[in-house]
């Protein structure tokens, strides 16, 4: 699997994503500057966590205006895989590649802690290596991860099997405890928790490994 990690101004989990990808695939990820017009030939594009443009205006809103977003939308339209983590998820909802929005945490504070989630769906390249209903623990680290969409959209997401991860103890007030969702074509996923921080047992867990293993299996 060949992968690219997008670097926006003040992305700050770009190195973590690249390290996890290299560890899992044995290949270096391409680091792609947000002002580039084109993507290298890759199977997976990762929009990493961080504070792109300092979260000014709205989280992810300015990053969505970056030049590279055109190429990412074209990659997604062709069926290419896109994974948005944390701020990357916020960019994906701003861009319309995923529905809904991420609002300020219900507790009004930044929250960093391990959260336990259930894997809701395994019909995707992202979750195929998990068992349905399996519980996994990833860390969250965000101030604006409170997922919101109107009831109609939420019902559709649930009905179409596009709610991928659900919090067991909701840390941010997300609607229906949603932690991660998929697009209609099932090739774009966004989630607030950080799978790239749990691929190494020394860091407190390895539940994120199966996510990358699934992608490798599906995209190689």
């Amino acid at each position: 699997m060949k992968s690219a990690v997008i670097v926006f101004p003040a992305s700050n989990c770009d190195r973590d994503a690249a390290t996890a990808l290299e560890q899992m695939t044995g290949k270096k990820a391409h680091m792609v500057w947000h002002q580039d017009n084109a993507l290298p030939d890759v199977d997976l594009v990762v929009l990493p966590g961080g504070f792109s443009y300092g979260d000014y205006l709205r989280c992810g809103a300015m990053a969505n205006q970056s030049k590279i977003m055109g190429a990412i939308k074209a990659h997604a339209a062709k069926g290419g895989a896109v994974l948005g983590i944390c701020n990357g998820f916020q960019v994906l909802t701003e861009s319309g590649l995923l529905p809904g929005a991420l609002m300020r945490n219900a507790g009004l504070k930044f929250v960093c802690k391990p959260v336990t989630m259930s894997v809701e769906e395994t019909q995707s390249a992202f979750t195929r290596k998990y068992d349905k209903g399996q519980t996994v623990t990833f860390p969250v680290a965000h101030g604006e991860g409170n997922y919101y969409a109107d009831d109609e959209t939420l019902n559709r997401l649930e009905g179409e099997g596009r709610v991928m991860f659900r919090y067991q103890d909701n840390p941010n007030g997300s609607a229906r405890n949603i932690a991660g969702i998929l697009n209609e074509k099932r090739n774009v996923m966004g989630l607030m928790p950080h799978p790239e921080r749990v691929v190494d047992e020394a860091l407190g867990g390895s539940d994120g490994r199966a996510l990358f293993q699934g992608l490798i299996e599906a995209l190689s």
Binding site: A10, F51, G54, F110, C112, A141, A202, G204
Partner: protein
């Protein structure tokens, strides 16, 4: 020479408004050979402020040990540097942002974090971890909750955006900080030993470049404010608190590291306290050169800024660099890529003068040394403090031990700090192998099996009772915390927070504190490689407890051989290393259970510290022990409860050695550790300790879901954990009137 603004008459009122004495102004006139103008008066006022010149402490700081074979850079640069092997260097420093944080807690704390990060990355390091030491007033003081909330979110707001994990720190409460909180932030970074950047602007004719944010009017005279006592009108100084923008700092970090990968830089320094003035004057001073600045070229955020405004502004996220001639275009491309301002604003000269032009006129012309070496140094009179009486304070010997434990674990100083840490991203950069809550945080050196252990420590109540012994204890505890995770302690940064040095008893606390720190650092091979003094921490004449915070860094050669506090197995033997005499003077027990802050500080025997610590570290490094906790605030039983709560495994233990149960379980004797190990290993450890003449005792075994003492009294972990975790969130939610100290 036409010195513009020379028309302003320098009156005694103006001199005092600038925080200078008449004697100091006379010295300025002598150095200049004439009257100063207003711009020059402003420049002197910041450069000669306590904050920038260390005029009260410089003579005493010289007594600290600063050298060791592994020290690459000691005090005097933006941060200290140590060699951690394989061509890797660790660069770190701690600095205070006390006064601004009291006036405007969010921005004060945020810019404190931003400032210390710049000190570290200006030397070529990528910051990899942040720590802090925070002191607030008593919980039921009307301002405390607001200050805690603002400071914690400010630290998180800045560090989280930078993508540097905040891995721990201290949070304590005491009424002496009611009007003067302490916010000390520490940054640890990594560089290669052959890529360290210093601030000496050697050579003439080199371009001086300004990069980062534009200059505004914020923070003018921040350094002067930080060098004065507070009173009730201090909140009027809100405009002197700077406003931080971590987004710009993140870009500045990446742009600087990109420029540092080239060989274009001669010298670089961040614009911190006293901004453009101190960065340019210090670079010229260290390089033995002169400097000439043209303020018309400075990127400006506001209209009609005067020379005075620009020279004294403390706008954040700015750097000054001296480049090799001809490398401007290469540097400009990097900063433009990161959408940051870049301007050539001056040149180095061979005149040894600090010359500033504005609108075609020379507005300041001062010998560089007048701003550095010639700054006043005071041998302030001091009264060396007598330690508090050593008699054992009386206490009720019949109080039930476990009820007291439960109460202590829920006091403001001992309750879980989870509410605080969860607002800090502690796992970004994916190298944090030991998170907040242990003895020290541990962060891997990226891509290697090495790791750095980091801690901040001081027990101000000991320093109040005995400033010298308290200084020793702060160093010993930092050393012990690093040892307890398995790291070899390498160096410290000190952040000396005291009251007004013009009062002889306060100056005595400072001198004695430095004596104690120096003695401990020498005995433990733990040199001081940088630091910061924050004096005048007084409000309406009331000083804070002496608080010399120590930031310590140690190295684990193999992070897979690391200890944590959590019990990991049932039936492990719980072993106490170190002698217990039952020292209750100045203890948490006496303060929280008997409501008395009395007695002598616990004595620190540095030879025993070293012997016991080296023994414990050896057990961890050889992979024989993975469960260790140092004994500090609250004593043995509190440490045991913390180990049990962290691991979710209880313990049954019995008293050893001394007669008084309360003194045994809650005494705060130094140089002690608790370790837990399987039976066979434990037997060997006890035998080896005895053979080495180290005090050792087997207290009991792990197991169950309660703490049981002497096979009869018991308290469940669930109950302890509930009360331990509950205090902070309930306090912050305003749910209960908390206990006063």
């Amino acid at each position: 020479m036409n010195l513009k603004m020379g028309m302003t008459q320098i009156t005694p009122e103006l001199i005092r408004e600038h925080g200078l004495t008449d004697g100091e102004y006379a010295r300025i006139m002598k150095l200049l050979g004439r009257d100063a103008n207003l711009v020059e008066l402003g420049v002197f006022s910041v450069m000669w402020s306590e904050h920038c010149s260390y005029k009260s402490t410089r003579a005493h700081l010289k007594k600290l040990p600063t050298e060791a074979p592994w020290v690459i850079q000691g005090p005097g640069e933006n941060a200290g540097v140590i060699d951690i092997g394989d061509g890797d260097a660790c660069i770190f420093k701690m600095e205070s942002h006390n006064h601004p944080s009291f006036i405007e807690p969010y921005q004060g704390a945020a810019t404190g974090v931003g400032g210390i990060m710049r000190d570290v990355f200006t030397m070529g390091a990528r910051p990899i971890a942040m720590m802090n030491a925070l002191r607030f007033g008593e919980p039921d003081h009307p301002k405390t909750r607001h200050l805690v909330s603002g400071v914690v979110s400010g630290i998180g707001g800045y560090g989280n955006c930078m993508g540097v994990p905040t891995v721990g720190g201290e949070v304590n409460f005491h009424r002496s900080y009611n009007g003067n909180i302490l916010v000390n932030a520490m940054c640890v970074g990594l560089a290669r030993t052959d890529k360290i950047f210093l601030s000496a602007a050697k050579g003439a004719g080199n371009p001086v470049v300004y990069v980062g944010s534009k200059t505004g009017r914020d923070g003018i005279h921040g350094a002067t404010m930080a060098s004065a006592e507070f009173d009730d009108a201090s909140e009027e100084k809100r405009p002197t608190v700077q406003v931080g923008d971590p987004f710009t700092e993140k870009l500045l970090l990446e742009a600087c590291l990109e420029l540092m990968a080239t060989d274009a830089i001669i010298a670089i320094q961040d614009m911190g306290a006293a901004g453009l003035t101190s960065s340019s004057a210090e670079m010229a001073d260290k390089g033995g050169s002169g400097i000439e600045l043209d303020l018309d070229k400075v990127p400006q955020r506001e209209d009609d800024m005067t020379a005075y405004d620009m020279l004294l502004s403390e706008s954040q996220e700015r750097m000054l660099a001296v480049l090799k001639p001809g490398r401007e275009a290469q540097a400009r491309r990097i900063f433009e890529k990161w959408e940051l301002d870049f301007a050539v604003i001056g040149v180095t000269t061979d005149t040894s003068r600090f010359v500033v032009k504005h609108k075609g006129q020379v507005v300041a012309d001062i010998p560089v040394t007048a701003l550095s070496d010639e700054a006043p140094v005071y041998e302030r009179p001091f009264a060396y403090p007598a330690p508090a009486a050593g008699a054992l304070p009386a206490y009720d010997r019949k109080k039930p031990v476990l009820a007291s434990l439960e109460k202590i674990l829920a006091t403001p100083d001992m309750a879980s700090r989870r509410w605080v840490w969860e607002q800090y991203d502690n796992s970004v950069m994916a190298d944090t192998v030991q998170r907040p809550g242990g003895d020290a945080a541990v962060v891997r050196v990226h891509g290697t099996k090495k790791a750095l252990a980091i801690t901040t420590d001081v027990s101000p109540r000991y320093c109040q009772a005995d400033p010298k012994e308290g200084g020793k204890q702060a160093v010993a505890e930092a050393w012990r915390n690093l040892t307890a995770v398995g790291a070899l302690p390498l160096a410290v940064t000190d952040n000396l927070n005291y009251g007004n040095p013009q009062k002889p008893h306060i100056m005595g606390q400072i001198v004695a504190g430095i004596d104690g720190i120096g003695e401990a650092c020498r005995a433990l091979d733990f040199p001081v490689i940088g630091g910061n003094c924050s004096l005048y921490n007084e409000t309406n004449g009331e000083g804070i407890l002496p608080t010399p915070a120590i930031g310590g860094v140690g190295l684990l050669k193999d992070a897979t051989k690391m200890a944590t506090v959590a019990f990991k197995r049932t039936s492990d033997v719980v072993i106490l290393i170190g002698e217990t005499r039952g020292h209750l003077g100045q203890s948490i027990y006496l303060r929280e259970i008997e409501s008395r802050e009395e007695g002598a500080a616990p004595p620190v025997d540095l030879a025993i510290e070293k012997k016991n610590g080296d023994f414990v570290r050896g057990l961890i490094a050889s992979g024989r022990v993975d469960t260790v906790h140092d004994l500090s605030d609250g004593g043995l039983l509190v440490a045991l409860a913390e180990m049990a709560m962290a691991g979710g495994i209880g313990a049954s233990v019995g008293q050893a050695e001394i007669a008084s149960a309360i003194a045994f379980w809650f005494g705060e004797d130094q140089a002690r550790y608790l370790i837990a190990a399987p039976f066979a290993e434990a037997e060997k450890i006890v035998a080896e300790a005895r053979a080495a003449l180290i005090f050792v005792a087997e207290l009991g075994k792990t197991g169950g879901d309660a703490i049981t003492i002497d096979d009869k009294d018991s308290v469940s972990l669930a109950r302890l954990k509930k009360t331990h975790e509950a205090w902070f969130p309930r306090f912050m939610a305003g749910e209960e009137i908390p206990l006063a100290n």
